[in-house]
């Protein structure tokens, strides 16, 4: 067991992958709880799709170092747009998001399909390449994690109030749109930080699955956050180790990012089954 969980990470590239995965697991666990409370999974999904053309343009302009800035520009623009749309309340939010996210995504696909290494690049952007992560990527993730921590420490109670009772928050004089802009930007930053490691498609699982599993396990917000962080980190570790073991030990190639997601989903499924059987026993 120790061999399985520790030995793979002797290699420098695996150490970097582990550090990045653990950081993301914790970051996504915390922010994911807020996504869950606000029911923002769809908005998050929209952000992941709109980030895609930014990633592609960044890559075309200045290679790998352009990916994060490209993603950042797109994410910030998208979130500003979404928040403004939500604030007007004139149009159906879901429809608008759906139109925008597919449009942005299509632009990204067209841009990248003009490249010779089309398939390889597309795969890397969609599903990440955690095994070739470099120190700069880890620094970006760490900065976002610190920023997320500061925002949640500083505005935790206001964000909780906004999520629980927005009308009351407005009546008490809070600016909901400003609070939403902050939380949506935070979600966008998490997506941007995750792009290199797990790609734009799998981030949503990192955000939603640990928080959803934690919610099943507890009714208390503090416990939910702690469990979501633990689940996110444990899933990241276990996923990486499994992917390594399968690839190196058994010659079965398992994509690392997707394996992490599957480990998380498996855990969620176990918790759901456990709860269901407990309910059956109670009857």
């Amino acid at each position: 067991m120790i061999d399985f969980l520790v030995t793979p990470f002797d290699r420098p590239y695996m150490t970097r992958a582990l550090v990045e995965a653990l950081l993301l697991g914790a970051l996504c666990g915390v922010v994911g709880v807020y996504v869950l409370l606000r029911r923002l999974a769809f908005l998050t999904d929209a952000v992941t799709h709109t980030v895609f053309p930014g990633v592609v343009v960044g890559f075309l302009v200045s290679g790998r170092s352009g990916v994060v800035p490209g993603a950042l520009v797109c994410a910030v623009a998208a979130v500003a747009l979404f928040t403004a749309i939500a604030a007007t309340r004139r149009v159906n939010e879901d429809t608008t998001l759906a139109v925008l996210l597919t449009a942005f995504f299509a632009v990204g696909v067209i841009l990248i399909s003009r490249q010779r290494s089309y398939t390889a690049d597309l795969t890397a952007f969609l599903f990440g390449h955690i095994l070739t992560i470099d120190t700069a990527d880890i620094v970006v993730t760490a900065v976002v994690a610190v920023l997320a921590g500061l925002v949640l420490l500083g505005l935790g109670k206001e964000l909780l109030l906004r999520a629980f009772d927005p009308e009351w928050a407005r009546a008490a004089g809070y600016r909901i749109t400003a609070l939403d802009l902050v939380s949506n930007m935070l979600i966008a930053l998490v997506v941007v930080a995750s792009v290199q490691a797990v790609g734009t498609v799998l981030v949503i699982a990192m955000l939603v699955v640990p928080a959803a599993a934690a919610r099943l396990l507890s009714e208390r917000l503090g416990v939910i956050v702690a469990v979501a962080v633990l689940v996110g980190m444990a899933g990241a570790w276990l996923g990486l180790a499994t992917s390594y073991e399968a690839s190196v030990g058994h010659d079965v190639r398992l994509a690392a990012g997707a394996t992490i997601v599957l480990v998380l989903v498996a855990f969620y499924a176990l918790v759901t089954l456990g709860q269901a059987s407990r309910r059956l026993v109670k009857r």
């Binding site: 409370l37 500083g154 505005l155 109670k157 206001e158 909780l160 109030l161 999520a163 629980f164 009772d165 009308e167 009351w168 407005r170 009546a171 008490a172 004089g173 919610r215 507890s218 009714e219 208390r220 917000l221 939910i224």
Partner: protein, 252 residues
């Protein structure tokens, strides 16, 4: 009434965009008074409360809350929404909900302190639910949730309290607890505005009645406003004549 005025309506009209919701409201709620907003469904009771919170603009005339325009008085005004508008699955404890009443006082970037927790605990005890502090909000009954929301408002130590249909679907025990707490708050000098369907309750417990249906039909002591003529005028078809014995008002 020798007490100072807390809320003053001066020929106030409220509109959503260009659609007028409520017109010509005129009257005064003094400190320590409980005034009921009564009228049929869609009369504009909730709209008037939203106007008092500064969430819906005053189209003409004026509304003054504690001497200021509504939007500038929010820190001294506490609002009690209907409990069933809140998600019962939300993972938040009763104590956490009541503590929310302190957030404005605490201010940005700072965590609640000892004094805030004490004030919240005291408010929860005032509505008789201190023993449920650790439970999840959604596990309480509708009436208990309504009491928790009242406790949240009390924790803010407001000079004016606004309640939107607090007695809807509430059991007798909770109704009694709500009434006792509201009365105590008014006795302490707060001005209370409460919308309700329950004319009997309004007559028994309120110092004043504001009878509405799109516009104001009366504003004054219960004996002057809850008269068959005015009720007939405000409720129209929902008013049921009982010969010479009086009149019954259907719920909607």
């Amino acid at each position: 009434m020798s007490r100072p005025a807390a809320i003053v309506f001066d020929q106030a009209s409220v509109a959503y965009g260009r659609v007028p919701a409520l017109e010509q409201v005129h009257g005064t709620v003094h400190q320590g008074e409980i005034v009921a907003l009564v009228g049929p469904n869609g009369a504009g009771k909730s709209t008037l409360i939203k106007a008092l919170l500064g969430l819906v603009p005053v189209a003409s005339g004026s509304i003054s809350v504690l001497g200021r325009p509504p939007a500038l008085a929010r820190r001294q005004v506490a609002y009690v929404p209907q409990a069933d508008t809140l998600d019962p699955d939300f993972p938040v404890s009763v104590a956490q909900v009541v503590l929310m009443g302190r957030y404005r006082r605490i201010g940005w970037l700072r965590p609640p302190g000892r004094a805030d927790r004490d004030a919240a605990a005291e408010a929860l005890a005032a509505v008789g639910l201190a023993h449920r502090a650790a439970d999840r909000f959604g596990t309480l009954s509708g009436g208990q949730r309504q009491r928790v929301l009242l406790a949240r408002a009390i924790a803010a130590q407001p000079a004016a309290l606004l309640l939107d249909e607090p007695f809807n679907g509430v059991d007798a025990v909770s109704q009694e607890a709500l009434l006792a707490t509201i009365r105590a708050l008014a006795a302490g000098g707060a001005a209370v505005v409460v919308s309700t369907h329950d004319l009997g309750l309004a007559q028994l417990t309120c110092d004043g009645i504001c009878l509405l249906n799109r516009h104001q039909f009366g504003f004054g002591p219960p004996g002057e406003v809850l008269t068959p003529d005015l009720l007939r005028a405000a409720y129209g078809g929902a008013a049921l004549e009982l010969g010479d014995r009086g009149l019954i008002v259907a719920r909607s």
